[in-house]
Subunit: 688 residues, 2 copies
Amino acid sequence: MSAPATAARARTGLEALFAPRGIAVVGASATPGKLGAVMAEALSSYDAPLALVNPRAEGMHPGLGAAAAALEAPLDLAVLCVPAAVTAATLREAAAAGVQAALVCAGGFAEVGGPGVQHQQDVAEVLGETGIRLLGPNTSGFFVPRLGLRASFVPGVSSIAPGRIGVVSSSGGVNHAVSFRLQQAGVGVSLGVGLGAGIDVTAPDVIDHLAADRHTAVIALHIETVADGPRMMEAIRRASAVKPVVALVIGKNDVAEFAQSHTGALATSWRTSRSVLRQCGAVLVGDETELVDAAVALSRTRIPAHPDPGVGLITGQAGPGLIVADQLAGADVTVPRLTGATVSALSQLLPPLTFQANPVDTGRPGPEFPEVVRAVAADPGIQAVGLYGILEPVVDLPAAVEEAGLAGTPALIAVDGPPEGTAAAVAAGAQRGLPVVTGPTALARGLAALVRDARAQHGLGRAAVAAPPISAGTGPWDEAEAKDLFEAAGIPVPARARAGTREAARAAFRSLRTPVAVKLVDAAVLHKTEIGGVHLGIATEAQLDEALVTLDRAGAKEYLLEEMAPSGIDLVVGARRDPVFGPVVLLGLGGTAAEALADVALRAAPLSAGATGSMIDELAGKALLRGWRGGPSVDVDQLTHVLAALGATLTADPGIAEIEINPLRLTADGLVALDAVIVATEVPTEEE
Amino acid sequence: MSAPATAARARTGLEALFAPRGIAVVGASATPGKLGAVMAEALSSYDAPLALVNPRAEGMHPGLGAAAAALEAPLDLAVLCVPAAVTAATLREAAAAGVQAALVCAGGFAEVGGPGVQHQQDVAEVLGETGIRLLGPNTSGFFVPRLGLRASFVPGVSSIAPGRIGVVSSSGGVNHAVSFRLQQAGVGVSLGVGLGAGIDVTAPDVIDHLAADRHTAVIALHIETVADGPRMMEAIRRASAVKPVVALVIGKNDVAEFAQSHTGALATSWRTSRSVLRQCGAVLVGDETELVDAAVALSRTRIPAHPDPGVGLITGQAGPGLIVADQLAGADVTVPRLTGATVSALSQLLPPLTFQANPVDTGRPGPEFPEVVRAVAADPGIQAVGLYGILEPVVDLPAAVEEAGLAGTPALIAVDGPPEGTAAAVAAGAQRGLPVVTGPTALARGLAALVRDARAQHGLGRAAVAAPPISAGTGPWDEAEAKDLFEAAGIPVPARARAGTREAARAAFRSLRTPVAVKLVDAAVLHKTEIGGVHLGIATEAQLDEALVTLDRAGAKEYLLEEMAPSGIDLVVGARRDPVFGPVVLLGLGGTAAEALADVALRAAPLSAGATGSMIDELAGKALLRGWRGGPSVDVDQLTHVLAALGATLTADPGIAEIEINPLRLTADGLVALDAVIVATEVPTEEE
């Protein structure tokens, strides 16, 4: 499915937007403070011909045709500072003048309803006819500091330095906020883009562009909505193979009404977006400060693909080191105990007052510090090193790390001190190719990002599990049919028999091991227990007869008799169709409490081999699957098979909308599907 | 129990430490870089006489007696730059010379074991005999920027500005890290203290000192261990009545081995410490960056005590505003829809393109901005206002807020922009008494801190619930005794009967409504179900007889027969003695999954009236208690009574170590305690 990178580059073709040979500002103005004046001023620092267009302003071009004719270079980009109502017409004029890309800052399109909807349709029509690429509408623009190209009406961006981090944001405001925050952190930006409404140029387009951009070392994403799930997944999968992708997804909590007014409805859930993007290789973060911490850490170094990289933590002060260690443990980052040989080497270097087994507490770093760093990095369990120190004149962490000569082991440094001191440390790190952040939390978050990136790469590098596709019928499914389907797919189900009459039920009862469960079979009934349609622990024919009478009263047409499973831990697994990302599979814990807590892990189908283990890791109640209080541990291969089979079923059969096995019980004998619902896709009624 | 503030001030008596009239550095040195030289240099900027003591150094005093005699002011403070082995002797010499307080930076005491334990005992003995106060050992000191007093060997602290935030940290390193971070945020520090081992001066001492310090507006705490729980609770309760207290507690995850090497064992749990400190009025935060965000917000303004303050959020850019709104929702902060009158007023001020119902998206702030702020702040549902804007020359948020004239409604401003721009905005805010932070996340965290502080104050202002003390026996308890106890305390229990013989059991069965549960009664058996000691759904005498036979085989001496409760949601409640904080009560959800998730809320006894509601709010699965899927909602008064009764029982009866009701079932008829364990305190065997 994935196209070669060169094809992607050709298809996105965003050079006209992000490195134009000539620019025109339409609606330029000479009145200070007006958008058309601010934009013209901002673009004047870019080293390419600039044309100002305004038919009513003296000394400006009357139209784009005249501007193109006058310009000494191809007019690639038109920056539109005009209202929504005239945007479509202006774009048509631009295309006629040879313009290949446009930036539209104005709002007033579909997001406001009314005439705005028509304006947007008009614009879409022009795009379709002319092939012109459009960034926006409703954005504050973009900037490429390396080129001095600033298509933004925020004057402060002129001070943002060139750097290695590409910022792609749903929102013009967040693009600026994140870029300024990177500047505060002492690092620069390769490209900063606010997509706005994103009716043409979308996040996957820019991700493709940045994946191929040799000035960009890491991609930082801010995502409010995903318009085209498969395209986004493909772009992140492809980009993360060549450079790290860090993503902040908005909408954990209910902010739908406000979000709708901004960039539109949230078609999929926060949880689904995060899970799927992570699965494609992105490192997920929780807020814009963590986005910055992670991007800075990943902008200089990357741990090679690894299932569980070990981090060595070296700290000059125990208290801040304890904060880092606490957060690393919370982020599920392994800080392994160092080998005896390493500990022994460290004990020669450090005073006996400190903790040395990892974290390594050095006390105030002394001349032996580079040797300490070298010893920790050389430990076989260590794939990356984190260093913390309060700035003192006698201590220069970047120099010490350079002196240590880490031979490829990634390192992240954090300092605390006066602002001028931390800025100097960041600059010293940059000279040596070392990322430097401020404070214990930034160190922990940066290290966690390095580890998550390596884990994601490892997961993607493994071959996908081939699950047997399941042949399925159409129309509604009852429980007995569902279990036949599962059995065919190798999903364990209890021994059982279907019976249409009481006599057949009695015969079935004699063939099964008691006690049995006796249930009503009816595809139309989703919650059998609530109408008295389930009877458990039936051990005698007398009890069976009593149960059958009750089932008949509940409207049973058929019965299902089933051997009862041993006790165990109840899980819920399922598959459904996400409107954005297609078939997704879910794993959660059973029971009302787990349901209320929404303790569920989710992945897009098909699953890679490592996916099941990482899904279990995501569950807050994962301990229950791993021998809780001497109980059974889940067989990951068996669970992988169940999940892959569910995903494969939805992929193979468009007639199935949703499958839920609830509970899938974890017993000492393995997994067994005790109850299941299969929902058929609604088929539109045919008109006669 | 709580002493008047003046008494506390007299008792802590830390003026000799934090505002000494004269200082001596013992172990002073002329060799640059040595601790004794760095400390002497750091203290030279303080405006009080300074004596350098070193018998082996030319031009220095040979001892503390000579130094005191030579000094033109009382020698209040001795700063010891000497090894652990000679610390006790030096302290004794200091006390003889009239010194009232000492700072001991060295490590090498009890935390390293061996001879260090003896050194610490020697020091404790001198403190006991002389009454001299000691900060440390094993700390990098403290600083009072307002006085130019810097007893720290980190030279960078000389650039930390005077300010309104008092920092009290378990760790010298974290004291510096947090203070530098406050400096990065553009605000200053009133006092920064690292307690180190804290063998004499502890966090409650410094909290008492800061509560009475008119230069301190907010207290920022970093806590690794709590040595004296009741004293800490008292100090925070008293301080938070007069100024906000923000607390970061370390140890969420397992870092015990490293922590032990630093400041000692974690006697209580992270969860317990957080719950109890919150209950005493502190605002709890998750990392050092949030500590700074919260302290900055609370350093200029405080929402008056309120059960649920509403926040008005005004943003110049929708994208960052959405990040703030998402995080506020996640932090359980109410962002209420504005009244029709306010929305109507805003619609006159703002273009129709934006969302105005709260959050209020203004677009780029224009001249109408102060009026927008005034309208939002005047809304009856709004108790605080948050403002976000990307810096542009045309926008000055602090000036606009001042112009709005908020008449006491607290406001917090966040900006994003180039470093020099944000620094100017922070300074402009400070001139107007307005807190200014950087970025959406800092705004959300600051607003959440304002809201949590107001809620905590509200909770403390309400009268405590008086629970009936329960008279209890001694020795081990069986389930029947426990239920009798609960019944006496007004905790609902099922109708039941205790029977010593099968005949008595049959008689009891006839007196109860069927079906019943029949259980083994034995105080020595904690987990009856696991040995076949529980039989449910007994509806006939034949079934009863069968059950009694099985119970006899399981070793039953007595039986408990009990009417079965209707189905519902199972909770777990309990009370136990925390080694640091004394009696605490717990509330959680029942079932294996909830147990594995550790979804539990906890408070110290006695409970205030609002505590139960806030405990429910803390549960991840709180929806289950509030009419989940049409089921029953908990009666908060009834649950309060149950929890208060459990806490009162432990307070009243030292013979009970622990009570657990599991499950406490929430049914349509209210709560009912279905099973319970009471653990008696172990009584030491008397020697004959």
